[in-house]
């Protein structure tokens, strides 16, 4: 079987201790929460940390606090199962419950945390392979090499942001609390990411993501749709998160965020803007979906073909908006329901 490389596991009991341990061990160390992303990657030698700072023993990281009306606060160490089953999350931010509940499999959701999910390593099917496989094809720049195998002329890595929850958090306007040796800061989830498959997080190595802060929900409607081959196991090869607020039947605010089509979640800004001030008619939805698909630029490095993923962006955005408008999924069935 595949074996983990040797490492030392440290088990801090507080965020402060975790941050210090991380600072002490420098680039040799990594945080690990549920380990459902990191350990398989270590077995394939995508990461070879000498020290792991385990976050599982830190009580303050676990749990959902606060009220939906003033803004829920989700500890980064809360498992995906707990997020997806939490009554307030299900009621007020159903898209988040759905996204968390669609991650991988039930056993992995029992271990995997929302913090780890936001920080999940971008994926590429030239990269998420064993050391021996990567040696055979020739190492790429994300690990052990210096070229990109998907886009050979490129000077950057195009690994795919594969988190299910981040697009939803972004669409909701959530913020993240980061605690590091230099202190603490709160940033929008939208500015937590960088469009780079290797250096994908805009956070310092020693910073722990401690909390996700959701804004007050007030007339908010949200949806998340995920494209993948099977009903379980699979990472998204396209995610569509939409959050809207309505005012007298007209859209007041709207955010459409695409997952798994770039190295970070990608907001379809132009498409969102088209919705504001308008009624959610089938015609507008069709138009917006077309515009939303424009920033979707998948490459050939995941399951299903990239032209298909691009084509489905439009279908999925339309579906998400139609669901929020109370319309059937496909325009062809319109009369049936009406």
């Amino acid at each position: 079987m595949m074996r983990l490389p040797p490492f030392t596991y440290l088990a801090p009991l507080s965020v402060g201790e975790a941050v210090r341990m991380m600072a002490d061990h420098g680039p040799e160390a990594m945080f690990v929460a549920g380990g459902t992303d990191l350990y398989p990657n270590m077995k394939r030698r995508q990461f070879e940390p000498k020290v792991l700072v385990g976050l599982r023993g830190i009580r303050e990281l676990v749990g959902v606090r606060g009220e939906a009306t003033t803004g829920l606060v989700i500890g980064a160490g809360t498992t995906l199962t707990d997020v997806s089953e939490h009554p307030a999350v299900r009621e007020h931010v159903p898209a988040l419950a759905v996204a968390a509940g669609l991650v991988s499999t039930p056993p992995l959701r029992n271990m995997g945390t929302i913090g780890g999910n936001v920080c999940v390593d971008p994926r590429c099917n030239y990269y998420n392979q064993s050391y021996q496989w990567r040696r055979a094809i020739g190492f790429c720049m994300k690990k052990d090499g210096d070229i990109c195998l998907v886009a050979p002329g490129s000077s950057r890595c195009w690994a795919v942001s594969s988190t299910d929850t981040a697009p939803v958090l972004w669409s909701l306007g959530a913020r993240a609390r980061l605690v590091g040796v230099g202190g603490e800061r709160v940033v929008p989830v939208a500015s937590l990411f960088k469009d780079d498959g290797i250096d994908y997080l805009a956070k310092a190595r020693d910073e722990v993501l401690t909390e996700i802060l959701l804004p007050p929900v007030d007339g908010l409607r949200c949806a998340y749709l995920k494209l993948r081959r099977r009903g379980s196991f699979d990472f998204p090869v396209l995610g569509v998160a939409v959050a809207l607020s309505l005012d007298g039947g007209r859209v007041k605010t709207a955010k459409i965020v695409l997952g798994a089509v770039a190295s970070q979640p990608r907001e379809a800004v132009e498409a969102g803007a088209l919705l504001v001030g308008e009624r959610l008619t089938p015609a507008l939805i069709a138009e917006v979906a077309g515009v939303a698909a424009r920033p979707s630029k998948p490459l050939d490095n995941t399951d299903l073909t990239h032209p298909y993923r691009k084509k489905m962006t439009k279908v999925f955005v339309a579906r998400a908006l139609r669901r929020l408008a109370g319309l059937p999924d496909s325009p062809e069935n319109e009369e049936e329901v009406a």
Partner: protein, 802 residues
């Protein structure tokens, strides 16, 4: 079901090994830990096609914790392979690698981590050769050669047969139709990754435990490659965590651990990674197919001509048989009076293909059943009704000289038509919903052995203890299909005892008589017969002894309910344990052998060896699907499947086999594909090689049809493979019924369905599938008179038993 006459047969009993599997007590090969055991790791090729210039093991040898490093030079220069005609594999490659993953060197070390590190420290220098990655490429050029043997450059085997004049049949036909199909390769994906443990005893004898479906062939391969007397080698098949044909070849890693154990003087274990299992492969061959039939306006077939272009991968494996199977069983389901088959298997630089559940027949079955659906559509016939009309008759011969005994196909068709509401659904459901129909047949054990010999295919010993306990010793291999259970039921029935009083010891070359292995759906029939015969002989001895004691004639006795008693006076009798004492007192030690050799019914022409079987199972299937026209996603909502199993020795086990086959067939139909990029397997992991989960598995309605075949033990035919066959074409035909798109290749991915619907919108034919065939000149066909419609040989028993 007619179970009244039996106490055990036909009863839905739990498997005899259910408890140990459920509580995790079963010891698979990877669960063996022996004192001082070392761990092995194989260094595999990074290139799909290359000459090995140099292998330097210095750095690996210097690593602390390494016990031994071997290369191909450390083995006798002998090749091996499952078929005598394709001895083309080496324990470790010496001069050339033919695929990424080919074994080059191996290490034994103190633990797995060290072994892996050492394997990576082996320096290999290659001279890279151009790889050949498809059958088209292989047939198109003759400059680069993967092997130096075969029927042409890169052609492993080319065959052609004609049974009757097909052109004449086409001339008489009302409709002649041609279609082209492609069936993508896929792999078995057993839960258990292959593992093996080797140990040498101080007197120089070898024991190997392995996750294998064919310990007998591993035994032969070890003797050959290690140049040792077979008498000094003991091969034990550990419980196998799923095989499906993926563990029916002898493998390099089995030979390697044997050698490493000899060199290190330690037991040596190897457990393959999932990626390495993808390199072992021996899975479904990708096959490009052309099919032409001439039919009457009622859909009766007058002539059929099939061609297969088979992508074999890097080695021979079972390939010659696989190739022949893409043609041989096309005639067993429907009446085909004239039949022509041409096939070619090419070598490519990919993991070798071989036998996966259904061995060589799901591909042509897909072609035939989708083709017939189109024929029915064109003739405006109901596809189920048409198939019913052209189903073969029992006790007849096919054009290619195969003997059919019982055939429950018409009943299978009627039952699924009824259960599924076919008539109310076909061509009547709303857009996006559809039903599809398909049938199939499969062999119950290959009629000929893999290496030429006249010995039995299966043997068993039944031994009775003084306390009334019974032991069955048989070479059959339990791979999860329930073979240990079947042996137990058969013997329990013969001796009239509780299955719990029986122990089975199987698949151990020292202790058990040879059984050829768990492949070709042969075990229930062949090992079942062998065990039944041994038990019957024991029963005769016991009855003789009890008869003497009770002063009746032996013929007046029966064994049932744990007693041996007078049939007409059940009060007069003895317990089975007493019978055992009486028996041993009279006859000495109570142990009898039984064996089974299939009837010799192959046609008298070269190449007739693949296809004959004592009897054939039959299946009919209806799949109901929902297709999302926006995304092209296909969801299978329900599957109805009726299977003629002859007799269900245990209906639970048969249903399990049928459901498992449906599940596997759905995976092949919808998503599984063995695909390559830049010479490498693109997705060698359980996450990215998409195989359905329970969420994709629909409700399956299984209907068992019992024809009680005179060739099978208690009338049983096979159930392990046949039910897979109709599933992919039933799904394809249902997709057509739902949205009017023909997807003439598997997997039927959402992209392909979406593309077909796109084409339809553009006013083009809504079809996705292969467009052209490679240019290839098949050999002149072997011309043999068609045996179609002839009565079965007199050697065929007609329903006597059961």
């Amino acid at each position: 079901m007619s179970t009244e006459e039996f106490s055990v047969i036909g009863k839905p009993l739990a498997k005899v090994d259910a408890w140990e599997k459920v509580v995790g007590a079963a010891r698979y090969a990877d669960d063996f830990f022996l004192p001082r055991m070392a761990y092995a790791k194989i260094r595999r090729s990074d290139h799909p096609h290359a000459l090995i210039k140099r292998v330097d093991t210095t750095r690996a040898q210097a690593l602390p914790g390494v016990y031994a490093v071997v290369t191909g030079r450390d083995f006798p220069a002998v090749k091996f392979g499952i078929l005598p005609v394709s001895q083309d594999e080496e324990a470790l490659c010496t001069d050339k690698v033919r695929m990424v993953g080919d074994p080059i060197a191996a290490v034994a070390a103190v633990d797995e981590e060290t072994a892996e590190k050492a394997a990576d420290l082996i320096d290999v220098e290659y001279e890279v050769l151009p790889p050949i990655m498809s059958v088209e490429e292989a047939l198109a050029q003759d400059k680069v050669r993967i092997h130096e043997y075969g029927d042409g450059p890169n052609i492993h085997k080319a065959v052609a047969f004609e049974f009757g004049d097909v052109e004449e049949g086409f001339r008489q036909a009302d409709l002649v139709r041609e279609d082209v199909f492609f069936y993508q390769g896929n792999t078995h994906l057993p839960m258990e990754q292959h593992a093996a443990v080797a140990q040498w005893s101080p007197d120089g004898k070898l024991t190997l435990w392995s996750s294998t479906q064919t310990p007998h062939y591993v035994h032969r391969a070890l003797a050959k490659t290690l140049q040792m007397p077979p008498a000094w080698i003991r091969v034990i098949a550990a419980p196998v965590g799923g095989g499906f044909g993926g563990k029916t070849d002898p493998f390099s890693h089995e030979i390697v651990v044997a050698r490493l154990a000899q060199l290190t003087g330690r037991p040596v274990k190897i457990g393959l990674t999932r990626e390495e299992v993808f390199y072992c492969h021996r899975g479904r061959h990708p096959v490009l197919m052309w099919i032409k039939t001439g039919v009457t306006k009622n859909g009766e077939i007058l002539a059929m001509h099939c061609r297969s272009y088979v992508d074999g991968g890097a080695y021979g494996s079972y390939g010659v048989a696989s190739l022949l199977y893409t043609g041989a069983l096309q005639t067993v389901t429907y009446k085909v009076p004239r039949y022509k088959f041409e096939g070619v298997r090419a070598f490519t630089n990919k993991p070798p293909c071989g036998p996966k559940r259904g061995h060589g027949t799901p591909q042509p079955r897909y072609a035939l059943e989708c083709h017939l659906d189109k024929v029915a559509e064109q003739l405006r016939l109901d596809p189920a009704e048409m198939r019913r009309r052209i189903a073969v008759d029992e006790y007849t011969k096919t054009a290619n000289h195969l003997t059919i005994t019982t055939c429950g196909l018409r009943e299978c068709i009627d039952r699924v038509v009824e259960a599924s509401g076919w008539r109310e659904k076909h061509r009547k459901l709303p857009y996006g919903k559809g039903v599809g129909f398909a049938c199939s047949s499969y062999l119950t054990g290959a009629g000929l052995p893999i290496y030429w010999n006249d010995m039995p295919h299966s043997g068993a010993i039944v031994k009775v203890d003084r306390g009334g306990g019974v032991a069955i010793l048989c070479g059959a291999t339990e791979i999860g299909q329930g073979s240990d259970s079947v042996l137990t039921y058969v013997v329990a029935e013969q001796l009239g005892i509780d299955p719990k009083d029986i122990r089975v010891a199987t698949a151990d070359s020292d202790l058990t008589p040879v059984d050829l292995g768990s492949y070709s759906s042969r075990v229930t029939l062949m090992a079942g017969h062998a065990a039944a015969q041994a038990a019957e002989r024991i029963r005769t001895l016991l009855h003789e002894a009890v008869a003497k004691k009770l002063e009746v004639a032996p013929a007046e006795l029966v064994s049932r309910g744990g007693r041996v008693f007078v049939k007409d006076d059940p009060e007069r009798g003895v317990s089975f344990a007493e019978a055992a004492v009486l028996g041993e007192t009279m006859h000495g030690t109570l142990a009898c052998t039984g064996s089974y050799t299939p009837p010799k019914r192959a046609g008298k022409f070269k190449g007739s060896g693949v296809g004959p079987s004592p009897c054939y199972s039959y299946t009919a299937c209806v799949a109901e699907v929902s297709v999302d026209p926006d995304t092209g996603e296909v969801k299978v909502d329900r599957v109805w499947i009726a299977h003629d199993v002859g007799r269900a020795l245990n209906p639970l086990l048969v249903e399990g086999q049928v459901e498992g086959s449906v599940y596997m067939g759905l995976g092949e139909a919808l998503m599984e594909e063995q695909v390559f990029r830049e010479g490498l397997h693109k997705i060698p992991s359980m996450l990215e090689y998409k195989s359905p989960t329970t969420l994709e598995t629909p409700e399956i309605y299984t209907i068992l049809v019992e024809t009680v075949d005179p060739e099978g033990p208690f009338g049983a035919k096979e159930a392990g493979q046949g039910p897979l066959l109709p599933v992919p074409p039933a799904v394809a035909n249902a997709v057509h019924d739902a949205v009017g798109a023909r997807i003439d290749e598997v997997p039927i991915s959402p992209e392909k369905v979406a593309r077909a619907l796109e084409l339809k919108k553009q006013g083009k034919p809504a079809r996705v599938g292969p467009e052209r065939l490679p240019v290839f000149k098949f050999p002149e066909p072997v011309k043999v008179a068609s045996a179609f419609g002839e009565a079965a040989d007199p050697s065929v028993k007609r329903k006597t038993q059961g």
